[in-house]
């Protein structure tokens, strides 16, 4: 039923006890934009670090003792095996605690958890990635993999919407992505001096896309719920089917393995049945208020 089900931790430590965190050390911290930074982490147990693998779209539970855990997607290259990147927005209790940490500090890590983006079904297809704000980090591992296997896919587009030009993530990588064969298109909600690009919501970028062939395209969307719904709606109006659209959803997660009940949305546990869902499976529930 679930074609992209979660893989288990794959490490010696927590494979038997999904509740037990591993120790991870902060190797480097790169400031991205206001209230957002990317943390390079490495598991302190060398064997566990060497064995750790994740699929694009999966997440870890990052744990600060005393503050709690937060579900954070992997934002690095899935082929890089000696460290893990997490791009974190400092928004709540746990992430603000992480913001106060420095290189060399340790935190707890459980994972990887959750489903992944459907890269296998993209072979021979055009791929459109649509990201809104902090929705780009969970799609960056997809970009790395698509570009590493460029010849396997058709046209590749990234449509990225941010609140303002200053809030765009990973801007220093766009040129490299473009050279690798990814068409990067951007839009912002609010302009600022020096911005000559698009203004407005992300679905507009989709509607303006030239040479768009709905029949041979896979769409992956990550961003706020409303943005995902409007983007999907635009895609459906342009002739795509819900089976070609994938979204990454978000809910409060505490266990990450379907045992605590917090993240339920209709019949789904977002933590283990998601976060990545095919749109036809999750959209009926995304539309019900308060579900």
């Amino acid at each position: 039923m679930n074609s992209c089900s979660a893989t288990t931790g794959g490490d010696g430590n927590s494979a038997n006890n999904p509740w037990l965190p591993q120790s991870a050390v902060i190797r480097s911290i790169s400031a991205e934009v206001r209230d957002v930074a990317t943390y390079q982490l490495a598991l302190t147990d060398p064997a566990a670090a060497a064995a750790y693998r994740f699929q694009p779209g999966q997440f870890n539970m990052l744990y600060v003792p005393g503050a709690g855990e937060s579900a954070i997607s992997m934002s690095g290259n899935p082929e890089t095996h000696d460290s893990l990147l997490h791009t974190i927005r400092f928004a709540g209790n746990v992430t603000r605690s992480i913001a106060g940490m420095k290189v060399g500090d340790t935190l707890g890590l459980r994972g990887p958890f959750g489903t992944s983006w459907p890269l296998e079904s993209c072979v021979g297809q055009d791929v459109i990635l649509v990201a809104g704000g902090i929705g780009l980090p969970p799609l960056r591992p997809v970009i790395y993999r698509l570009l590493a296997e460029r010849q396997r896919y058709g046209r590749l587009h990234l449509l990225y919407g941010a609140r303002s030009p200053e809030m765009r993530l990973y801007t220093e990588e766009y040129e490299q992505w473009s050279e690798g064969g990814l068409d990067v298109r951007q839009t912002v909600d609010r302009s600022s001096p020096g911005w000559h690009g698009n203004l407005g919501v992300v679905p507009l970028l989709l509607e303006r896309l030239p040479a768009f062939d709905p029949a041979r395209t896979v769409l992956m969307i990550c961003g706020p719920d409303l943005m995902m719904r409007f983007t999907a709606r635009a895609a459906l109006q342009m002739g795509m089917t819900a089976e070609q659209i994938w979204v990454s959803t978000e809910r409060n997660m505490q266990c990450a393995v379907g045992l605590c009940g917090h993240c339920q949305l209709g019949p789904e546990f977002i933590c283990k049945d998601g976060p990545v869902f095919r749109y036809d499976r999750i959209s009926p529930y995304m539309k019900v208020e308060g579900l």
Partner: protein, 375 residues
């Protein structure tokens, strides 16, 4: 479920009341801690037993929506009651448990598990609906890609001594959920109480070990007839019904029914129904640290989808009113549970009806939604 469809492998015998008293010594001799019914604070609850004298001899319970009362019986029955506010889940999925421990060291945080002292548990007096609940929780905690180690450790060596119901409460509807009142499987021993002793069904080697340590007798035809009549009495007393026909689609296609607003006017969002439910498994994790902050434990505590903060996310609440929370509970219990675990989350024990302070009855709520859907 009035038939008696026991398989041939299950051996039956008769255990006198005198021998039943010795059961406790036998279980202790086999290193079991015995958990069973006791009277506590005006209700029959499940706790540690030391002897047969701890059992609620001569007591029964009277239950209605929003009501639970103990009442003296006119006989000395040991299991002459139905189900109280406790369920066995508190012994397998404890209300509070420590998930992991973090200690600050020179090399940073170190994480470890808690080595729990786990006694072998013998559950005495498990009813058919509760056997069904145990199966459901087994599926939740052990049947998926991730296994809960706390539940697993406690469940592994649990001995189940079931008791067939010989009477039903007005809140029971196990016959609608196909979970009772007859104990069919999932037990080591099953008892049917008669006046002078018990008809015992021995289903497993673990049950056989216990029963061989006691003096049993061959069953007489009369004892078989008495046991059958006693069990039939429970069947005959069950009046409450929940029509489960297409219940998944019925509820999921009525997510915007005005009926949820009607329930919301009565529901107090007090969480009682979820606390007494033998299958509800929602929990929250909290940080508990010592004064230095160098030793931190992560503790899991029972929680409820009726609690306001349960759906907190990104600075807001997803289910910010009682309508949405009752809808979540009922649709999960009776509909989406089937998507998730291939079974209903309801066993028809009726606890949520008795222990709802305003007497909300899920069987009536489903009937009302069904009626709305038809018009």
């Amino acid at each position: 479920m009035s038939q008696e469809p026991q398989t041939e492998e299950v051996r039956s015998c008769f255990l006198s009341n005198k021998q039943f008293e010795k059961l406790f010594e036998i279980l202790y001799g086999l290193d079991y801690e015995v958990i069973g019914p006791i009277i506590d604070q005006g209700a029959i609850t499940y706790d540690r037993l030391t002897s047969v004298n701890d059992l609620p001899r001569g007591w029964t319970d009277v239950q209605e929506p929003g009501k639970y009362r103990l009442q003296e019986r006119d006989d000395d029955a040991l299991f002459g009651y139905v189900v109280g506010p406790h369920s066995w889940k508190k012994h397998l999925f404890p209300p509070v448990s420590t998930l992991s421990v973090a200690d600050r060291t020179e090399e940073g945080w170190q994480f470890s598990e808690v080595e729990e002292d786990r006694p072998k548990l013998a559950f005495l007096g498990v009813r058919a609906c509760e056997l069904a609940a145990l199966k459901i929780q087994d599926r939740v905690f052990l049947g998926g890609a991730y296994v809960d180690p706390i539940y697993q450790g406690r469940r592994a060596e649990t001995l189940i001594i079931a008791v067939n119901c010989t009477q039903a409460a007005a809140t029971c509807f196990c016959t609608s959920m196909n979970t009772g009142p007859r104990c069919q499987s999932g037990f080591d021993l099953a008892l049917t109480e008669l006046t002078d002793g018990f008809v015992v069904e021995v289903a497993t080697p673990a049950g056989e070990t216990v029963i061989q340590a006691l003096k049993t007798q061959e069953l007489s035809d009369e004892q078989l007839t008495q046991a059958s009549a006693a069990r039939q009495q429970a069947v005959d007393q069950i009046e409450r019904e929940l029509d489960t026909t297409d219940i998944h689609d019925l509820l999921m296609s009525n997510l915007e029914s005005s009926h949820w607003d009607d329930v919301a006017e009565r529901c107090l969002s007090c969480t009682n129904c979820t606390m007494v439910c033998p299958t509800c498994f929602c929990s929250s994790v909290e940080e508990v640290s010592d004064l230095t902050g160098d030793h931190v434990e992560r503790q899991r505590m029972w929680d409820s989808c009726f609690n306001m903060n349960f759906s907190y996310m990104n600075g807001g609440l997803v289910r910010n009113n009682i309508r949405n929370r009752y809808r979540q509970w009922l649709t999960h219990k009776l509909a989406t549970w089937i998507d998730q675990f291939g079974t209903s989350g309801c066993v028809g024990c009726g606890r949520c009806i008795s222990w709802c302070p305003v007497g909300i009855d899920l069987t009536q709520e489903v009937a009302a939604i069904r009626k709305d859907g038809e018009t």
